[in-house]
């Protein structure tokens, strides 16, 4: 297989540029001789036609939502509308400088303001900043705000953050970066928040509790309001991890559940494309008592007949701001895409959540209730990760019964799904469900796709176990050896030639 360093053309290969304003020699001689570069980086020497082929070839060896069903739990892999891309490629987005005068950024700031207001409204928060560029950075920024809040109240002794054992790994990692000790509490037998466990750890040293609701099991925490009461009674703050916000828009809100701070994943709920791992956008919302600590600046506005629709927008620094977590104003391009996505739904965002939940429940039902014909061929069925009548936007399956009976693991089934043209579900998370597969269809999949996936999934369970355990068979490469990778650490091209 070929890589980009195989292109080894003439020295003049590549992109032709206009001439510099003064001669190259003059420029070169002006650089202090001790700092002039001696050997240029050994980058490829290739022309556009060659590189278009190379990157097109690479793209065909990659799987996105556009290629097929992507039931990756907790990641909300919904369709990415293309007009959103067209908008951010305008110079009026792409070629803006964040330090430009406010008068150069009025259109962008109008969009920022609308997004701040919309997110605050949907989540029951009072103030929103769009600065954090990923969910994890949102968590970090919000926990920093909570830290400063306690400090201002003379309660710096609060040095512990509580997380359930089903939490995303970023929750404890973000709180630890702020210097907090992490207290992990076990879920109860049904995978729900255990209030007794919470009561046993909460106290005067509690700074905050971080919760995802619906949880990573895809089930709504019925006692969330009580959990908030318990933490608040001890003087702690409640933090909402918005990774699963797609399930509840218009139905409930973190504010109603008693949370003080929340982050939103615009790359999940609001369709910023995941781009192979980023960019994301992780705005945070807070109740008024935390607003003075938010990262700076926020967008505000005042009436002005010369402004956009009668408004002039300006940057405003919160009084006791923690400062910056990203050096500019966040991932503005992601905010603009998410704004375009939001405008497509408007007040019908509720319908988006309804369909996400409808699809998840429907797929779960189809998988757990195979036809008699199929059931007869399946040696062992997976079981629910958590007992529940209804799930929210996603659900978990434990493949333990399958593994016990046939030796086929969750990973084997995941790899076999790749052969059928699907992305695999999230694997082995949350860790509290043994042999876990976590499945999230999102609202943008049709009933036909869900029916077909359920059929194929069940068919795999009936297949010869050797076939499944050696999967995938139809992909660009066979099962990849991750242990070899970690032992040998070939982290760049050697460029020996």
């Amino acid at each position: 297989m070929s890589d980009v360093f195989a292109f080894n053309g003439d020295l003049s290969a590549g992109y032709a540029q206009p001439e510099p304003l003064i001669s190259g020699d003059e420029v070169f001689n002006a650089i202090p001789s001790s700092l002039r570069r001696v050997n240029l980086p050994r980058w490829p020497r290739a022309s556009e036609p060659e590189l278009v082929r190379h990157y097109t070839w690479l793209s065909r060896r990659n799987f996105g939502i556009d290629n097929g069903f992507y039931p990756l739990g907790s990641c909300t892999m919904k369709h990415n509308p293309r007009v959103n891309e067209k908008i951010v490629q305008l110079s009026e987005v792409n070629d803006l400088h964040p330090l430009a005068p406010e008068s150069h950024l009025q259109g962008l700031m109008a969009i920022f303001y609308e997004m701040q207001e919309m997110l605050a409204h949907c989540s029951g928060m009072d103030e929103v900043t769009l600065q954090p560029v990923a969910g994890a950075q949102g968590e970090f920024a919000a926990i920093r705000c909570i830290q400063e809040f306690h400090k201002k109240n003379g309660e710096s002794g609060r040095n512990k953050v509580i997380v359930p054992d089903s939490a995303h790994g970023t929750n404890p990692a973000s709180a630890a970066m702020c210097g907090y000790e992490i207290i992990e509490i076990p879920s109860n037998d049904e995978g729900r928040l255990d209030l007794d466990a919470l009561k046993s750890v909460v106290g005067q040293d509690t700074a905050a509790m971080m919760v995802t609701n619906p949880s990573t099991l895809g089930v709504f925490e019925p006692e969330i309001a009580k959990a908030s009461e318990i933490v608040h009674a001890a003087g702690g703050q409640m933090y909402y991890d918005g990774a699963n916000f797609n399930a509840i828009l218009g139905k409930t809100s973190p504010g109603l559940m008693g949370f003080d701070a929340v982050h939103y994943n615009l790359h999940k709920t609001f369709s910023q494309p995941h781009g192979g791992g980023g960019p994301g956008s992780g705005p945070i919302g807070v109740k008024s008592h935390l607003a003075e600590f938010l990262p700076k600046p926020l967008v505000d506005r005042k009436e002005d007949s010369n402004g956009i629709d009668g408004w002039k927008y300006f940057w405003r620094d919160p009084e006791n701001s923690i400062g910056k977590v990203q050096q500019w104003h966040g991932n503005a391009g992601a905010v603009v895409r998410s704004w375009a996505f939001y405008r497509r739904y408007g007040r019908e965002l509720e319908k988006m959540s309804e369909h996400a939940v409808l699809n998840a429940n429907y797929l779960r039902h189809k998988i757990l209730n195979p036809s008699n014909d199929l059931a007869a061929k399946i040696p062992a069925m997976p079981i629910d990760g958590a007992p529940t009548k209804v799930v929210k936007h996603e659900f978990t399956l434990s493949m333990s019964p399958v593994k016990d009976k046939t030796g086929v693991t969750g990973k084997d089934v995941a790899k076999r799904l790749l052969d059928y043209g699907y992305m695999a579900p999230t694997l082995y998370f949350p860790m509290i469900v043994p042999e876990c597969l976590m499945i999230e269809p999102t609202e943008t999949e049709s009933k036909e796709v869900l029916d077909k996936f359920a059929d194929d999934f069940l068919k795999i369970l009936s297949e010869d176990s050797d076939l499944v355990m050696t999967a995938p068979h139809n992909t660009d490469v066979g099962r990849v050896d991750e242990v070899w990778a970690a032992r040998n650490l070939v982290l760049r091209h050697p460029l020996d030639n």
Binding site: K86, G276, H365
Partner: protein, 460 residues
């Protein structure tokens, strides 16, 4: 009418198959006391045509850099990205994919990122690169915490790092936020009279965990003292260098003069400034830091038949495995923008990079000469060489000069007092890039001259 929901109108059929009769049944698990009792108070849905029209209407109020002579930079740069870059990177297979956790169907992105790691490694001359962090400032901050983890045990100055004087407030603030939890103390490395790191003072940093400096420095000065710094601070102190990435076709790679970790802003390779994001931070290091570095890394490996393949590796550093003991909380990063950078770098090639560096330096030099020929304007650091940007001293406030220039349709640069604590109000930071033209420079010079005239009129 919402149009991206394939199952609209088929809800009942699906509900019935499950034994439910209404959508409300699916939300019956949400307790009454936390259920929203009013619908969302938002405008109705829009069609694509309406969204596009509204986007254009609102965004037309913006003034892009390329629509006028622009001399604002300071970390993000006006550039030109070859058309094929976005055309390739936004192919749906790349754009709409998730983190390549399933390598068997993600070889394309994995290979592109491995190639990216190689190109960054070559650019800065260090063996290891990750696949990006958020931006230059978080890269610097993560480099400092990474260095403390590696060096603190043996360090004579425990939990202490030094950073260059005159870092912009926004960078220092990010660094402070990222280091506060680890109890890391940040001290300042002083400059000498030429705007370079004071090597005598730097002896105080000997034995600390890390020093962070920039090349060129925040005011655009190429710092000739930096190659002597590693020896002064010592073997057990990480030398972290923040670079202006496009300068490295002209200025020696920091890995060749002692840097242990190189960070910087990748933006000029791959994407416009985009109001500050998405952009991407570069993070490259020596092997010593590999197991403590943040972010994702791709390794080359084999599949079950022994064929070449790529996969994410060293994941045990990361939050999804190591949770609160992870080296960083980073999960979503800036992969797609790094891919854009990678495509742009491939297309430039080594000599294209050199030419791009020269164009940037030439524009800077031409602008500097023209501006300095104006009577009444002085360089803050005369007798130094600049890349991309330089700082001048005006007879009056830089803010007033900028607003005068703005009224003439020229974006004149940055009043440093706005972004840098203790900067004088009459310091003006001017940036010129490969996109700067002689006509742009003339307009800047004319504008500054007529602004100076207005000052004389006032005083007369």
């Amino acid at each position: 009418m919402v149009d991206h929901l394939p199952n609209l109108g088929r809800e009942f059929e699906m509900l019935q198959a499950m034994g439910f009769s209404s959508i409300d049944d699916l939300f019956s698990d949400i307790p009454q006391d936390v259920t929203r009792d009013t619908p969302l108070d938002l405008p109705g849905p829009q069609t694509e045509e309406e969204i596009w029209a509204d986007a254009q209407r609102l965004l037309s109020a913006n003034i892009p850099m390329n629509s006028r002579p622009n001399f604002l930079g300071a970390g993000l740069y006006e550039n030109f990205v070859p058309t094929m870059v976005a055309a390739m990177a936004t192919r749906g297979e790349f754009l709409t994919s998730y983190t390549p956790y399933q390598p068997e169907v993600s070889q394309g992105m994995l290979q592109a990122l491995w190639e990216f790691q190689t190109m960054i490694s070559e650019l800065v001359s260090l063996p290891v690169s990750n696949v990006s962090v958020y931006d230059a400032s978080t890269a610097a901050a993560e480099a400092l915490t990474c260095a403390v983890r590696v060096h603190n045990r043996k360090a004579e100055q425990k939990n202490i790092v030094y950073v260059s004087k005159w870092l912009p407030d926004y960078r220092l603030s990010v660094i402070e936020n990222y280091t506060v939890g680890g109890g890391i103390e940040i001290r300042t490395l002083e400059w000498d009279e030429n705007g370079m790191i004071d090597l005598d003072f730097a002896k105080e940093a000997n034995g600390c965990c890390a020093v962070y400096v920039e090349q060129p420095n925040p005011f655009g000065v190429i710092d000739e003292n930096l190659p002597k710094l590693k020896e002064i601070v010592g073997e057990n102190t990480a030398l972290i260098v923040g670079v202006n990435a496009t300068s490295l076709g002209l200025i020696e790679a920091p890995g060749n003069w002692g840097a242990d970790i190189v960070v910087g802003e990748g933006q000029p390779f791959g994407i416009g400034a985009t109001a500050g994001g998405p952009i991407y931070g570069i993070f490259a290091c020596n092997e010593k830091y590999l197991r403590q570095m943040p972010g994702r890394i791709v390794g080359k490996t084999i599949d079950d038949k022994g064929n070449d393949a790529y996969t994410l590796t060293l994941s045990t550093r990361e939050q999804h495995i190591r949770r609160h003991k992870a080296t960083s909380n980073i999960c979503s990063n800036e992969t797609l923008i790094a891919l854009m950078g990678s495509i742009h770098m491939s297309l430039l090639g080594p000599y294209g990079l050199e030419k791009l560096s020269i164009r940037n330096a030439a524009s800077c030099q031409a602008t500097k000469e023209a501006v300095c020929s104006i009577e009444g304007i002085e360089l803050l650091y005369p007798n130094t060489c600049s890349y991309n940007e330089f700082t001048i001293i005006l007879p009056q406030s830089a803010m007033s000069a900028l607003s005068y220039l703005d009224s003439l349709g020229v974006t004149g640069g940055l009043a440093l007092e706005e972004t840098t604590k203790n900067a004088e109000s009459n310091w003006l930071h001017i940036t010129a890039t490969d996109q700067t033209t002689m006509a742009d420079i003339s307009k800047l010079v004319d504008g500054l001259e007529s602004w100076l005239e207005t000052l004389k009129e006032v005083s007369a």
